[in-house]
């Protein structure tokens, strides 16, 4: 047990270092950021496409190609899909570390604090 205890403490130390330093490990973070950018771009494209579909459905209704009941049904469906995409975009948005993009209150906070 005497030998085991220091080993357990060293293992815990390693675990803590891994946990705490994860955001600072540049390479991994950068790769993750790139992956995230790509996913974000995909979702933005999907959002634009969905918005286009919504507008087209409305145009179809206004021009008599769709009944009001059908249009409302389709419009509701498409807007729900757009909401899902927006939600996924927001979920991907990580805290941005760059000071330039922080709010004005934060800047004044730095001055005050």
């Amino acid at each position: 047990m005497d030998v085991l205890a220091p080993l357990v403490v060293i293992a815990l130390l390693g675990l803590v270092v891994l946990l705490v330093s994860a955001p600072l490990r540049g390479g991994r973070a950068e790769a993750e950021a790139q992956r995230q950018d790509a996913r974000l771009a995909d979702l933005q494209a999907a959002k634009d496409a969905k918005y286009r579909e919504i507008r087209e459905a409305e145009l179809d209704y206004r021009t008599g190609h769709l009944s009001e009941a059908d249009w409302r049904l389709i419009d509701r469906q498409l807007r729900a899909e757009a909401v899902t995409i927006l939600r996924r975009i927001d979920e991907l948005a990580e805290p941005d570390p760059r000071p330039a993009e922080r709010g004005p209150q934060a800047a004044s906070g730095r001055r005050g604090g």
């Binding site: 803590v16 946990l19 994860a22 927006l86 941005d96």
Partner: protein
């Protein structure tokens, strides 16, 4: 395993120090990855404190007496559940519990706010980690729970018998959860003040933690009151004891805070007040921890003196100076956006409620610290007793109950006559009817109680009226049947209706306090078997004496002397009560002898209690054991003479036989016993009111997943429409 526990604490301290640096560096340079690393330090603190706590719990459960605190706070005869709770009966264990709970709640708060308040969070992290560093340093350098003895004793001292009560197993974790949860709004308030972001967002982000702190602290206080009533043998539930008061102080200011933040959220008012309140509450929470463990004030609840006075006083002084500096230096940012338009408005009612609550806190603070104040001024320690507290707290409590009724229904900004009539006509009528009914029943002896019950009836009627009107409105909108409409109404407005239930609970609790204080019948008397006494409307007869010994793991754990009492009213049998008193052995065998030590150690009362919705009959007994002294001396001499000839096992058997003979003699020829009898009306209402308060608190706390999803969905739908409209 002790080394693992100690290692975890050292790592926890190092993690806190690193986390403070990373958070502040991240805040100063705007590098989010350092702030994220600081946040993960809090998670690591939680994991390390949890690991250390687990090591300690295992040591207690396995009775590893090589751990000094296990040997001094547990024993093999301590039941396993109490062994688990014994960990926090020690100073070292309770500080470790503090650190563990701080890590838990801080991690939860920072996880939930990881995408919000990005400018405030780094400073809040630093403050929370500062608390963590303080407690970890105490555990590493001053109160190490993992100290071991080179030679482990074969048996431990055991858990203080007074603490062997179910409620006491969860009472300390509840109080400490309350104290540590209050650290969260405190830390976010500091962060908000540092960056001058004093809008309501930090309040919204931490409101639930303030409410949870209030909830847990309240549960702890009620459990402590119940323990006092059922276990301490004096028959009361509240004695204005310093340790009781220490938990009440942050609860009072916390109650004021969870009310006044509503004014800031709705009207942008009371920013200085809210910031000051939450900072004060955080300071009082640390003060509460200090008082429980320090022993600087005499208390029936303080289990041991401490040498941690200097570090705690330093921390508290630092918190006071820092808080004052932040509030004063940010006074321009804390300027109110609106003013109170009228004294007849909800804002004014809430402000009045706050003033009363803070006034109560001040009275409790002054009375609690009066011994120290008087010693500092006059050189002599003088304490103030319950009558002093009652003189000031009772009038304040009356005003508080009145405002509890007025606050929820009076109009914002300015009340009109029509609004007031609509809001208060029925509740005022309920109050008047209650008053007339009480006078008709002849309950007019105590004017204060009469006013209190009347005001409580008014406050309860206000809450019920609001529930009724809300349900009716919901039915009109949705066409749901009444029960479903009521459920929907509460589910969709948890905070509001949870709060109303809390108000009902507080009113019920105050009715119980008023009635049981004013109309209690008490009798202290000495009775011989066969004699009777009268307590209020009851006749109590001492039928016979009882006695026994409890053996655990081959040793006599305690001896019991009790009584059987028959309670009658007008000749009718009401109940049979069996109060007894248990005697646990002192560890000073040499001083008192192997038999004598059972009469010189801790003793606990098992009260005889017949609880009812309208009246409690309560009794405790103090047996006279002086007549047994010749037999005790004889037993000690016998064991001394035979000591060299008997094995330890044979000695234990002989001791059990001697003690068995003693208790049999007591039951056969009992001396007169001293009794305390109480017949108290409506004590059950106090516990029922407490349950209602906590049910209301739970409703208010419960995450409204549906509502949150609905709001988020509505927000996204609006965004889709907006973006489509722009294109």
């Amino acid at each position: 395993m002790a080394q693992v526990g100690a290692g975890c604490l050292i790592l926890a301290l190092a993690t806190c120090v690193y986390g403070i640096g990373a958070s502040l560096y991240g805040a100063a340079t705007g590098r989010g990855q350092w702030v994220a690393s600081g946040r993960r330090s809090v998670y690591a603190l939680f994991l390390l404190a949890a690991a250390a706590f687990a090591v300690l719990e295992v040591a207690f459960l396995r009775s590893q007496f090589e751990f000094a605190i296990v040997a001094s706070h547990s024993s093999t005869t301590t039941p396993p559940l109490y062994r688990a709770a014994a960990a926090w009966s020690s100073q070292e264990g309770s500080l470790l519990l503090w650190l563990f709970l701080l890590g838990l709640w801080s991690s939860l708060a920072l996880f939930l706010t990881r995408r919000r308040l990005r400018d405030v969070v780094p400073y809040a992290q630093a403050v929370l980690l500062g608390f963590g560093a303080f407690f970890a340093a105490l555990l590493v350098f001053a109160a190490n729970p993992f100290e071991t003895a080179a030679l482990a004793p074969s048996e431990g001292v055991g858990l203080n018998p007074l603490l062997r009560y179910p409620a006491m197993m969860i009472h300390p974790p509840m109080l400490y959860s309350g104290y540590t949860l209050f650290a969260v709004p405190f830390a976010f308030a500091v962060g908000a003040l540092v960056v001058r972001r004093v809008d309501a967002e930090w309040i919204t982000a931490t409101r639930r933690f303030g409410l949870a702190a209030w909830f847990f602290l309240g549960v702890g206080i009620i459990l402590g009151a119940r323990w006092s009533y059922a276990e301490l043998g004096w028959g009361g539930y509240w004695a204005w004891d310093p340790v009781e008061n220490a938990s009440l102080l942050p609860w009072l200011t916390g109650t004021a805070f969870i009310h006044s933040v509503m004014i800031q959220e709705k009207r942008g008012m009371l920013k200085v007040w809210n910031a000051s309140l939450v900072l004060t509450t955080g300071i009082l929470a640390v003060l509460g921890t200090f008082l429980v463990r320090s022993g600087i004030l005499d208390s029936i609840h303080a289990f041991g003196a401490s040498t941690l006075g200097v570090p705690f006083v330093t921390l508290i002084a630092l918190m006071i100076v820092g808080s004052l500096y932040l509030v004063v230096s940010r006074r321009d940012a804390l300027r109110t956006e609106h003013r109170v338009d009228s004294l007849l408005s909800r804002e004014a009612a809430f402000l009045g409620n706050n003033v009363v609550l803070v006034g109560l806190a001040f009275v409790v603070f002054w009375g609690t610290f009066f011994p120290l104040i008087s010693e500092a001024v006059t050189g002599q320690k003088a304490a103030v007793g319950p009558p002093w507290f009652d003189r000031y707290t009772v009038p304040l409590a009356l005003v508080l109950v009145l405002l509890t009724g007025i606050g929820p229904v009076i109009a914002w900004r300015r009340a009109t006559w029509a609004n007031a009539r609509r809001a208060f006509a029925l509740p005022a009528a309920a109050g008047v009817v209650t008053l007339i009914a009480l006078l008709a029943l002849g309950v007019g002896a105590s004017v204060t109680s009469l006013i209190m019950v009347t005001l409580c009836a008014f406050a309860i009627a206000v809450a019920l009226q609001e529930l009724w009107r809300g349900t009716a409105a919901r039915r009109a909108m949705s066409g749901e049947p009444a029960p479903l409409a009521l459920v929907s109404l509460v589910r969709r407005n948890r905070r509001r209706y949870g709060g109303y239930l809390v108000h009902v609970g507080v009113a019920v609790l105050f009715i119980g306090v008023a009635a049981s204080s004013a109309f209690q019948h008490a009798q202290d008397t000495r009775l011989q078997v066969g004699q009777s006494t009268r307590v209020g409307p009851y006749d109590v007869r001492y039928v016979r004496a009882t006695s026994g010994i409890d053996v655990r793991a081959g040793d006599v754990e305690r001896i019991r002397f009790g009584t059987v009492l028959e309670v009658t009213m007008d000749g009718r049998h009401v109940t049979t009560l069996g109060p007894d008193r248990s005697y646990y052995p002192s560890q000073a065998i040499l001083a008192f002898g192997p038999v004598g030590r059972y009469f010189e150690g801790e003793a606990t009362s098992d009260v005889g209690l017949k609880a009812g919705p309208l009246r409690d009959i309560w009794t405790a007994v103090q047996p006279d054991t002086s007549r047994l002294q010749p037999l005790i001396d004889k037993g000690d001499r016998l064991l001394e003479r035979t000591a060299s000839r008997l094995t330890p096992r044979q000695r234990s058997i002989l001791l059990a036989q001697i003690l068995g003979g003693l208790v049999s003699r007591y039951a056969q020829d009992p001396p007169p016993a001293q009794f305390r009898f109480l017949a108290s009306p409506l004590v059950s209402w106090i516990w029922a009111g407490g349950l209602l308060v906590f049910a209301g608190g739970l409703i208010a706390l419960w995450p409204a997943a549906d509502a949150a999803r609905r709001r988020a969905r509505a927000g996204y739908a609006a965004r889709v429409a907006r973006e489509l409209g722009r294109a």
